[in-house]
C-alpha cells in the first residue's frame, strides 16, 4: 500500500530548544496510527506541523506524493484536518452552526444545513444534540461535535490530539467506534494519547517519540505495554505507582451531610497519612465536592470537622488558613500565573511570611526558601526566575506542590493531578507526595479518572455518581469491576 502522508526528516527548533530533531514517519490510508511519548517528546509539535499550523525548521511533509507547504488552509484543502486538544467551538452556537462555521460559502439555507447535519450523523453514527448551544453540553458531546465538524470536511488524514483526556469512558467507547468506522472508509487517522491501554485498544501501528526523536514505529501486535513504556522513557520503570504512605488511625477530616450545588455527601472520613480516592465519571460531583471543601463552592448545609473540631469554611482564604490546599484540575488556567516566575508562583499565597516593614517582601529570604522547596520537590531550582509557562506539565505540578508545602499543610485536595503529565513525572509526583505525607503527616483526597492510578494509590475509595457517594471501598475490597459498576450503574434518584 502507498503512504498517503509522509514526513521526512522534520526538524523544529525554537530558541534554546530542539523540539524535533529529524523525525520521519509514514501514514497509510485505513490505518489508525498512535503517537506516544512523554510530555515534551514532540508529539504535538509534529502534528501541528502536519496540520500546517507550524512551519518546520527543515524537512518536508509529503502528501499524496507531492510536497505540502505549511499553512492551515493549504492542509485543509488537501484533506488534512486536526481536532485540537482544546476546544475550537463557539460556545453560544449550536452543533449545526458550529459544524458549518467557516463554510458559510456553501450558502445553504438553514433547512438544508439541518438536513445535511442529520445525514452526516446518520452516515457517521455520531448522534449529538444539534439544537442546544454547545456551552450547555457536556465535554464528551463537545468532543463528538468537533469530530463531526472534521468528518464533514471529508478528510483523508484526520489528526486527534489527546481526544480522550477530557471525556469519560462511555464517550471514549463511542469515539473509538467512530474511528473504527472511519478506518474502514480508508481515512488515515493519527491519534496522540497518554493512555497506553487506548493505544492497544484502537491503534494499528504506534510511533514512539522521545526527546524530539523517533524511537520506533511498530505494528501494535509486535509490542507490549511494558516495551512501549521502556521506549518512551530512558529507564524501565518497574513500579509506576510508588505507594509508600503510612496511614494512621487518627481522624483528620470528617464530613457530615454536606449539601452544596451539585453535591450531597452524607459521610466521608480522611485519616492522617491517608490517601482517599474519589472515583466517578466526569461531572459526578467529585470536583464540586473538593470545591465545596475548599470554600470555592458555597456550602448550603452540613458539617465539616477538622481534627474533631467543627470548622466553617466560606472562602479559599479560610481553608488555606487551616492548611487545606487545593490543586485544581486545570492548573494552567486555575492555579498558575504562567507569565510569572517559579518563585512568584510558589510564594504568592504566603508572602506575609517574608514581609518586612510596610509589607515589603524580603526577596532574599523568599528566594532561599523557594530554592529549598524546589529542591524538595525535585524541580530544577536554577530555573527559579524563569516563567512558569516554559515548564513541562510535570514541572508545573511540582511548582504547585512546592507552593503548598510552604506553610504547614494539613490536607491536600488533588483534582486530576496527573492529567497531561507523562509516565515518568507521574511516578515522581506520587513519590514526592508520599514522602510529604509521611514526613508532615498530611491527608490527601485524590480525584482521578485514571482508575489504575486510583486503585494503586488510594487507601480508601469513595465512588461518586450524580453528586453523591454511592459506594465506599477499603483497600482490601478494591476491585476494578466493583468501582466501575458503582460508577456506571448504581441507581440514584436524580434530584
Amino acid at each position: 500500500m502507498k503512504a498517503i502522508l509522509k514526513v521526512l526528516d522534520i526538524k523544529k527548533t525554537y530558541p534554546g530548544v530542539e523540539a524535533l530533531k529529524g523525525v520521519s514517519v509514514e501514514f497509510y490510508p485505513g490505518e489508525i496510527h498512535a503517537i506516544v511519548g512523554e510530555n515534551g517528546a514532540g508529539k504535538s509539535t509534529l502534528v501541528e506541523i502536519i496540520s500546517g499550523s507550524l512551519k518546520p525548521t527543515s524537512g518536508q511533509v509529503i502528501f499524496d506524493g507531492k510536497e505540502l507547504k505549511s499553512g492551515v488552509a493549504r492542509a485543509l484543502d488537501s484533506g488534512i484536518a486536526i481536532v485540537h486538544q482544546e476546544r475550537n467551538l463557539v460556545p453560544s452556537f449550536n452543533a449545526t452552526e458550529n459544524i458549518f462555521l467557516g463554510q458559510e460559502k456553501l450558502s445553504k439555507r438553514k433547512k438544508g444545513r439541518v438536513q445535511e447535519v442529520e445525514d452526516l450523523m446518520k452516515r457517521s453514527g455520531i448522534y449529538v444534540d444539534t439544537k442546544t448551544p454547545i456551552k450547555y453540553l457536556g465535554e464528551g458531546e463537545k468532543q463528538l461535535i468537533e469530530i463531526l465538524k472534521i468528518i464533514h470536511l471529508k478528510p483523508k488524514v484526520m489528526i486527534l490530539d489527546e481526544p480522550t483526556s477530557s471525556i469519560d469512558k462511555k464517550d471514549i467507547e463511542r469515539l473509538f467506534d467512530i474511528l473504527r468506522k472511519l478506518r474502514k472508509e480508508k481515512v488515515a487517522i493519527i491519534i496522540i494519547t497518554h493512555h497506553l491501554e487506548e493505544v492497544f485498544q484502537i491503534a494499528d501501528r504506534v510511533t514512539v517519540l522521545r526527546n524530539g526523536r523517533k524511537i520506533a514505529t511498530k505494528a501494535i501486535h509486535d509490542v507490549t505495554e511494558q516495551e512501549l513504556i521502556s521506549m518512551m522513557i530512558e529507564k524501565n520503570i518497574q513500579n509506576r505507582y510508588p505507594k509508600t504512605n503510612v496511614p494512621s488511625e487518627k481522624e483528620l477530616l470528617r464530613v457530615e451531610n454536606i449539601v452544596a450545588p451539585g453535591v450531597k455527601v452524607d459521610n466521608l472520613v480522611l485519616h492522617k497519612g491517608e490517601i482517599v480516592g474519589l472515583a466517578g465519571l466526569v461531572g459526578s460531583g467529585r470536583t464540586e465536592f473538593l470545591e465545596a471543601l475548599y470554600g470555592y463552592r458555597k456550602i448550603v448545609s452540613g458539617q465539616i470537622f477538622l481534627n474533631n473540631e467543627r470548622i466553617k469554611i466560606s472562602s479559599p482564604h479560610d481553608s488555606i488558613k487551616r492548611g487545606i490546599y487545593l490543586i485544581p484540575e486545570d492548573r494552567n488556567n486555575n492555579a498558575l500565573f504562567l507569565r510569572s516566575s517559579l518563585r512568584y508562583n510558589v510564594t504568592i499565597p504566603f508572602l506575609r511570611k517574608f514581609a518586612r516593614f510596610l509589607g515589603i517582601v524580603n526577596s532574599k529570604n523568599e528566594t532561599t526558601k523557594t530554592i529549598d522547596l524546589l529542591k524538595h520537590v525535585n524541580c530544577d531550582f536554577r530555573r527559579i526566575n524563569e516563567d512558569v509557562k516554559n515548564l513541562s506539565g510535570g514541572n508545573k505540578q511540582k511548582v504547585l506542590l512546592a507552593r503548598w508545602m510552604l506553610q504547614s499543610p494539613c490536607i491536600y485536595l488533588l483534582d486530576e493531578p496527573t492529567q497531561g503529565i507523562d509516565v515518568n513525572a507521574k511516578t515522581e509526583f506520587f513519590k514526592i507526595l508520599c514522602q510529604t505525607i509521611n514526613t508532615v503527616g498530611v491527608g490527601v483526597i485524590l480525584v482521578s479518572s485514571d482508575l489504575p492510578e486510583l486503585l494503586a494509590m488510594s487507601d480508601r475509595i469513595y465512588v461518586f455518581r450524580y453528586g453523591t457517594v454511592v459506594d465506599s471501598l477499603e483497600r482490601n475490597e478494591f476491585s476494578n469491576e466493583r468501582v466501575l459498576n458503582s460508577m456506571l450503574l448504581t441507581k440514584v434518584d436524580v434530584r
Binding site: Y296, S319, I320, V361, R382, E386
Partner: protein, 321 residues
Amino acid sequence: MKIRDQNELKSGRFQLDKYYTFFILLSIFVLFSIASPMFFTSRNIINLLRQISMLTIAASGLTICRAAGELDLSVGGLAALTGIIVAKLMVSGINPSLAVLLTLLVGVSFGMINGLLVSLVKVPSLIATLGTLSVASGLALTTTDGKAIYASFPKSFSFLGTGYLGPIPFPVVIMSIVILVTFILLEKTIIGRHLYAVGENPTAARLAGLPVSFYRILAFILSSLAASLAGIMLAARLGSGQPTAGGEYLLEGLGAVFIGMTVFKPGQANIFGTLTGALMIGFITNGLLLMGFSPYVQDIVKGIIMILAVIAAVYKEEIRL
C-alpha cells in the same frame, strides 16, 4: 542556603527585545537633538519634564489599574472635576492644604465607586469607567456652566504647579516621588505582587486565597487618587479651574501605559515602562513643536508611534486586553 546556590541561578539571558522600545525612545531623543539645536538643552529638558509630570502621575495610577487587569477610562474626566473642585474650594477661602486634602478625598470616593461597580456589581471596567468618565466631565461642566474658574490662588497652592526646588520644577519633584512610590508598591510589596496576580489570572488568585475584589477596588482608588493629584496640580499650574482640562490624560496616559507594557517587563504594566511611554510622548510633543509643526500634526505622529511601539509586543502575544 549557601550563597553559591544563588549565584548559579539562571539570571535569564540578556534579551534585547525587552528593551527595544527603550531604544526607540533613545533614537527619538537623538533624532530631535540633531534636528533642533534647542532640543537638547538643560532648559528645554527641564521644561519637557515639567510638561509630562502631570501626565506621568495620572499614568502611574493607570499603570496600577492595568497591573490589576483593569482599565480606568474615567481619569480624564476626574482630573477636570478635581481641578474645578479644588479651585472652588480655594475661592471659598478655605485653607489650601485642607482644600487639597478634601479634593483628594473626593478622588478616592470616586475610585471606590469605580471599584465597587467593577468588582461587586460586575460591570466590565471598560463600560463602568466609560460611564463614570462621562459623569465626571458632565459634573465639571454643569457646576461651572462650562466656564473656567479664575481666582488668585494662595502662593502655597500655586507652588504645586509653578514652584521650583532649586533648579527643579516642583511638579517634577512630585512626579519623581509618585514614580518611586508606585515602583515600591508594585515591585517590592505584597500588595504589588497580589495586584499583578489578580491581573494575570483572577481565578488562580482567588484559589490562592487572595481577596480579589479588594485588590480591584484598591486599584481603582489608587488610579483615581493619581488622577486627582494630577488635576489639582494642573489647576495650580494654570491658575484656574478649567472644566475641560486634563482630557488628554486618558488617551496619552493609556498610550504611555501600553507603550510601557512592551518594555522591561513585556506584557505587564510597569512603572518604568510607563515613564518610557510618557517620555516618548513628551519628546514628540516638544520636539515637533520646536521644529515648528502644528499641534495637530503631533497627535498624528503620537498615534502612529504608539501603534508602532506595541506592534512587536502584540505580535508576541504579550499585550492582550
